[in-house]
């Protein structure tokens, strides 16, 4: 069936192809920035721009604003776009058009974000690499892959290394697939923020501060992040000290976190391997800062967690960064769980209980350790306000629908 789909897509693609479409080639050499930028501006719908293999060094950022085009290199280790001498432009490459395919090249050492995509309807990033080559440093750019306010976003077979915020970051977007990708030595490996309808699967997130983040933040045009599936990923050995510049929300994430869900609803986390995360494998928390945003819901709800594999965690909690690890360490008396839920719900629900359909569901092996705080007991000053029996949270899993994105 999958093959048949691909066959159909190919046929449709051929039928829709502009008969005047042309292929343009750029080679390294004198004026390479001007030649490449001019070619990107002069592309027309249906065109393919090939950046031949080689090393390109740019002083200025690049941008693409033509829809229905392909920009490709000849391999992520063959076509290298190097921005370490960058003097202008807030990112390496900026894309602002629709139905764009980017594939087979690398963006190195951008001064700001490596690849930013704003407001695109249809953006495929295939077999690309973004890297800061000097190792984890707070002076590295914030994001490797950074689609924002976009729809039908595909990130497939990509590699993101060294971002001082998130290697792969999808913000305020809809219909998203992130798969077969590798995120290493970033603060956050993969982050889905203020977004709707995302599938994140078959990725490796390792040696970051935290592996995979599903976040929702206040005071933004799109909030209420929901319907996110995180499955078949490996969030392992996330052991890099947090090197985010202060002021950024990920700067508060403790080193050694596998997966974190914050303030989203309808999140399903299953079939992942979480292991080697020195603070905690899985953390489910509320947004804890004050906000006056009336439209913002700061608590996670309808979170389903099942069939994951948990390896060692909690053996090296990061008590220096943020409050989370420290609080968890104190409450658990050093016996750090695999899964932590902060237990924070609206006041009315603390008293009356959560609606059944909004409750956290945990269907995991009995050997999985768990800890949550009972806010009522905590507030009334009980000596042991915690709950650790994962069985109390067993329930029926209602699988979320898989995400399909428009192909082009």
């Amino acid at each position: 069936m999958k093959k048949f789909n691909i066959f159909c897509i190919s046929i449709i693609s051929v039928l829709l192809l502009n008969i005047n479409a042309k292929e343009v080639f750029i080679e390294p050499g004198p004026n390479e920035h001007e030649r490449l930028q001019e070619a990107m501006i002069l592309l027309q719908e249906g065109d393919i721009l090939t950046i031949k293999s080689g090393y390109y060094s740019f002083e200025d950022g690049l941008s693409l604003d033509v829809s229905k085009v392909t920009v490709r290199g000849e391999g992520m280790d063959k076509t290298i776009l190097d921005f370490k001498n960058q003097k202008s432009g807030a990112q390496g490459l900026l894309v602002t058009s629709n139905q764009v395919i980017l594939e087979n090249f690398s963006i190195m050492d951008a001064k700001g974000d490596a690849l930013k995509v704003i407001g695109s309807k249809g953006i495929s990033m295939l077999n690309l690499k973004t890297e800061w080559t000097g190792g984890p440093k707070s002076t590295n750019g914030a994001y490797g892959f950074y689609p924002v306010e976009s729809e039908d976003v595909l990130i497939d077979g990509c590699v993101a290394i060294g971002a001082s915020d998130a290697g792969i970051y999808v913000g305020q977007s809809k219909n998203i697939i992130v798969r077969n990708s590798v995120a290493q030595y970033n603060v956050a490996g993969i982050e889905i923020e203020n977004s709707y309808y995302a599938d994140v699967y078959d990725n490796l997130a390792s040696h970051n501060t935290a592996g995979i983040l599903v976040f929702d933040l206040p005071d933004l045009p799109q909030q209420g992040g929901h319907h996110i599936r995180v499955f078949d990923n490996q969030a392992i050995d996330n052991d890099t000290d947090n090197f985010a510049p202060e002021g950024n929300i990920v700067g508060e994430v403790p080193r050694g976190t596998g997966i974190i869900v914050m303030a989203n609803s309808d999140v399903e986390i299953f079939n992942n391997v979480m292991s080697g995360n020195g603070t905690v494998n899985l953390s489910i928390v509320s947004y804890s800062d004050e906000t006056d945003d009336k439209n913002y819901y700061p608590h996670p709800k309808k979170i389903q967690v099942h069939n994951n594999t948990y390896g060692p965690s909690g053996f090296d909690p990061d008590l220096e960064t943020g409050d989370l690890a420290k609080a968890l360490y104190e409450i658990s008396a050093g016996d750090m769980p695999d899964i932590f839920w902060d237990g924070v719900v609206p006041l009315s629900q603390m008293i009356l209980g959560q609606p059944k359909e909004e409750r956290l569901v945990l269907n995991e092996e009995d050997t999985t350790s768990f800890l949550t705080i009972s806010p009522i007991k905590y507030m009334l000053g009980f000596s042991s306000p915690i709950r650790t029996d994962i069985k109390e949270f067993e329930g029926k899993i209602t699988p979320l629908e898989s995400i399909s994105i428009k192909t082009f």
Partner: protein
């Protein structure tokens, strides 16, 4: 009589023989050379065609201390429509022309100037399009630069100090980044409120709106217009000066319809909510642009305010605006510093 006749002849010559090339404004592609549009009777002297009317804005965008001359062209028998709180709705065939230059020495205008580029916004059938022409070394022609251009140059400032700059002519995409409103290119400057000031035209000093009405290039403007203040006017309220500066320098992107709307930081003149203006607003996707600070604006603490940090920075990964600036606008930074201090 003879004299009058010859004046009349010159007038005819100017206004008719040298009319603007309307077809080129509407054409599908941009011509190679600026002179082909015939906006100017003398291009290198920047002497405009009679129908190409000079204008100024009350507060202007900082562009590395370059000077700017602006002109508007509206085709005969057409008028731009007044739109509340927005730029005039110019008819098809209109052009907005802006030349950037440095005087050789700010203390001695007679030493001349170096023309850098002339940017055009052309109102085609399908909407506005943007392009820039960079002046050649001989300063007698400007050539289309689709991919932009770097001009390493220098000038002497009012203090007699030699200034150098890596000036960037923007590429077509960068034009759009700032001139983007709801995914369409739009002019930024010529809102009625922004041109509501006196200007010394060749036929006398007039309010620009009055003059535009008399020249029949606009249909209307309101009598009770609330205009921004000139941010350089120190007799005005500092809050008004800062808001005016932020509006014209940041508000085109940092507004709900602009390119930076995903940040939630809105600096256009109509924004009234403290959090969206940056007061105790946390950064969202700022990365090292935060400089290690927690909020865009911390009242009373300019040294902890991200907004000021990014205005001062000359690092491309940190600085704001993202493009169009390579130097720090010291005077504006001082003003914004004072403003945050007093909040």
């Amino acid at each position: 009589m003879k004299k009058i006749f010859s004046y009349f002849f010159i007038f005819l010559y100017c206004s008719n023989l040298h009319s603007v090339n309307d077809n080129l404004i509407l054409a599908e592609s941009f011509p190679e050379r600026l002179s082909e549009f015939e906006f100017f009777l003398d291009d290198s002297a920047q002497l405009p065609n009679d129908k190409v009317i000079p204008y100024e804005l009350i507060s202007t965008l900082f562009s590395d201390y370059s000077y700017k001359q602006r002109w508007v062209y509206v085709p005969s028998n057409k008028k731009a429509k007044y739109v509340e709180n927005w730029v005039f709705d110019f008819p098809t065939g209109s052009a907005l022309i802006k030349t950037f230059y440095y005087p050789v020495d700010e203390r001695a205008p007679e030493l001349g100037k170096q023309l850098l580029e002339t940017r055009l916004l052309l109102r085609k059938e399908s909407g506005w399009e943007a392009v820039s022409y960079a002046w050649n070394e001989e300063q007698n022609e400007a050539y289309k630069k689709i991919a932009g251009k770097t001009i390493n140059t220098e000038w002497t400032d009012f203090m007699g100090e030699e200034k150098t700059v890596r000036y960037r002519v923007p590429n077509v995409n960068q034009c759009k980044e700032c001139h983007d409103a709801d995914d369409k290119i739009s002019p930024i400057g010529p809102k009625a409120r922004n041109i509501n000031k006196e200007f010394d035209f060749k036929d006398g000093e007039f309010n620009q709106l009055v003059y535009w009405m008399n020249r029949e290039i606009i249909d209307d403007y309101p009598m009770d217009l609330i205009s921004p203040v000139d941010w350089t006017d120190e007799t005005k309220d500092i809050n008004d000066r800062v808001r005016s500066y932020l509006d014209v320098n940041c508000g085109h992107c940092h507004s709900p319809t602009g390119n930076a709307n995903s940040t939630g930081l809105y600096l256009h003149l109509n924004e009234t909510r403290d959090i969206n203006l940056g007061i105790f607003k946390k950064p969202v996707a700022t990365g090292r642009g935060s400089g290690g600070y927690k909020y865009s604006i911390v009242p009373g603490k300019p040294e902890e305010s991200i907004l000021l940090y990014r205005m001062e920075s000359m690092d491309p990964g940190v600085m704001m605006p993202e493009s169009g600036r390579a130097l720090t606008h010291k005077e504006a930074v001082e003003m914004v510093r004072d403003w945050i201090y007093g909040l």
